[in-house]
Symmetry: none
Subunit: 217 residues, 4 copies
Amino acid sequence: MKQRAIADEDKQARRDSLLAAARSLYLEDTRQLPAVSRIAEAAGLAKGTVYLYFQTKEEIFTALLDQEFSALLDRLTEHFLTASGTPWERVNLFLEFYAKYLQEHPEFLRLAAMANSVLEQNLAQDHVYNFKLQLAQRLERTGNALESALSVLETGSGARLMVRTYALTLGLWQLLDYPDAMREVMMRPALRLLAPDFATELTSALKQFWRGVLADQ
Amino acid sequence: MKQRAIADEDKQARRDSLLAAARSLYLEDTRQLPAVSRIAEAAGLAKGTVYLYFQTKEEIFTALLDQEFSALLDRLTEHFLTASGTPWERVNLFLEFYAKYLQEHPEFLRLAAMANSVLEQNLAQDHVYNFKLQLAQRLERTGNALESALSVLETGSGARLMVRTYALTLGLWQLLDYPDAMREVMMRPALRLLAPDFATELTSALKQFWRGVLADQ
Amino acid sequence: MKQRAIADEDKQARRDSLLAAARSLYLEDTRQLPAVSRIAEAAGLAKGTVYLYFQTKEEIFTALLDQEFSALLDRLTEHFLTASGTPWERVNLFLEFYAKYLQEHPEFLRLAAMANSVLEQNLAQDHVYNFKLQLAQRLERTGNALESALSVLETGSGARLMVRTYALTLGLWQLLDYPDAMREVMMRPALRLLAPDFATELTSALKQFWRGVLADQ
Amino acid sequence: MKQRAIADEDKQARRDSLLAAARSLYLEDTRQLPAVSRIAEAAGLAKGTVYLYFQTKEEIFTALLDQEFSALLDRLTEHFLTASGTPWERVNLFLEFYAKYLQEHPEFLRLAAMANSVLEQNLAQDHVYNFKLQLAQRLERTGNALESALSVLETGSGARLMVRTYALTLGLWQLLDYPDAMREVMMRPALRLLAPDFATELTSALKQFWRGVLADQ
DNA sequence: TATGAATGAGGTTTCATTCAT
DNA sequence: TATGAATGAAACCTCATTCAT
């Protein structure tokens, strides 16, 4: 039996180790959430113990997604704060940075794609609320940085642009993603439309969108 | 309905009645796919019979989604073919029509949001392929109609614009959707960003995107 | 649709073609009875049609086993009627002939091993009775031939000796038989006892038994 | 019985209680294996729990048969170790003891008759191997005791004699067994050959066989 | 707090048998 | 007679969650 985590910091550490185990297992196969028993095992704990730290399995992955969102939006905020050049140059730099980040963190969009359909499904309202609140606040913050970076934006519109940018990203991902095993079959000409390189297509689509944004102002 | 579906048309009718039962049950609670046994029961058939028509539960809902896509894209194609006015007027009419359609078919986006994360998971590669192929072909067709409607588009770009339009729609929906039970809590100011009226926000975002598209040409 | 079998001889022919199909499929994998649908398919008929000729699946294979018994016992009877030499020589010749026959008809004992545990289980009493009756009559006949061949036997004991000989055969088969896939593992020394060559062990065991029989007289 | 079987001995007890439930249900109707759900119910457990202790239904009954074999062969070993008299007297005592035991445990041979045809069919090779290994080892042990009891046997021949004795038993049982419902019909003279009292016929046949064995030495 | 046995729902699968056509 | 769609029972299986220890 594992040593009991009694102090708050011990509990937090145990929670973190469960999240780390979950992330690690999820990365092995991002097509499905790993079983709780495997997460427990990977963390060196018993299955029941997981439920002392998370109320449901989905809560684990929502917490994970929350971490990922936090990391991404922090990076973007930071990026915006150091941007320079004309608005369009800044947009281009941002989109490059963004696409590169997503490419380096393939787990993010896969997990995010489950947020609405899988994760929020078996989650207490409370947790859905908290998750959305965190996300909204982070988007606001990043939106503000975006506004500073692109002085042409109307006050208050930055966060909404972040929402739309992310929405387009998420939707494109879901349309264009396919399992590795289908790589070959996706090469057929008839599927050209749904099989372009994600990063390329994303950048192209977002540029088109941002052209509209800047035209708005 | 015949007791035994022997003619091909009877079989198709039976298949459709299973899809109708599945749709009806799904609408009762769009947060999860209904059990196969309930679908069978709702269609007045034995569980085993369902598996004569569909290999897995996911196949049922993929077929349903396929129907929904078909209906939507047929309507859009039709709409494009009768459009008139300046390009921007035509875009506005299209977006209004589109947003209205989605509002009247709330099951569509909920189901579509599962396509990547839930439905394709337990589906033979074959079926995923066929589903994607159908979708691609329909998008091509609608894209062509779009090109005719908006003479300013480059040849071949219509389908890609459809993909991006749909992607933005799907992503926005996932970010803005929440269970009915959370309506009250979503009204809090801190969540304003993630709780606007979907149709309004969708129209606004798509207009912004299409502004970019037209600016491109 | 197949031509209807109306004349009795047509019906018998159809029944025989089903038996032939069943035998052929059974030989492909003697570890389990083939599905009725496969038998029907192999005979070029529909599944339901099989049930016009046999009441249950087991009835098919009982009929098959009946054929096999008939063939075996006819051969043995014939063999006994032409035997010569001392009683012990005749026994040895018989056992050699018998073991060789079984080796050349591996389906027989596999099917026979199912008679009690599988076939009779789902069979109308009527059919079990008829099957047993046929078997008993054939054993009597062969037993009589055996008595003629071995003049030393008491009148009436031939059939019982046939029963016992067959019982020892059947039991040995079940103890020593194993799936092909286990061949390698059965070679381990610890399993030597249950993995000798069946024909060799059968001959040895039956000689021992028949030594007792002749000692009795 | 504890509510949760945590200690190894509790687990063994639970496993045994499942086996007891299986045996009890099997005795109600030895023509077929009871459903797993009924076994679970009879043991006061959920169906899923059964699968914590056994991987398949067949494994349950193989384990049961293993127990039965163990009990029988232990009793025989014990019997041999206390035998006295001339070899032939010892054989007679053994056969009486053996026939009586089988008569008192009617489930044994019914279950044993399924070993080859039903039980091993849906069993992992591993389990078949283990079952055979156990059986072989027990037969060796009993065979050794038999050699001690009958000093006239060649060293190493005891286990093989046990195999043959058991084979004759199993085969005879399958030929002579019939469902209770057929008792009346089996009385008809034409079936005399296949309807003698099993215990009597077994003893007679085995005596004949053992006469041959002793003649061999 | 920690454990892991127990639960139980439900998806998947197979197939002998029935029965409307 | 012939068909094959429909049935329904059960095995098989997985796994999130609960709860006695």
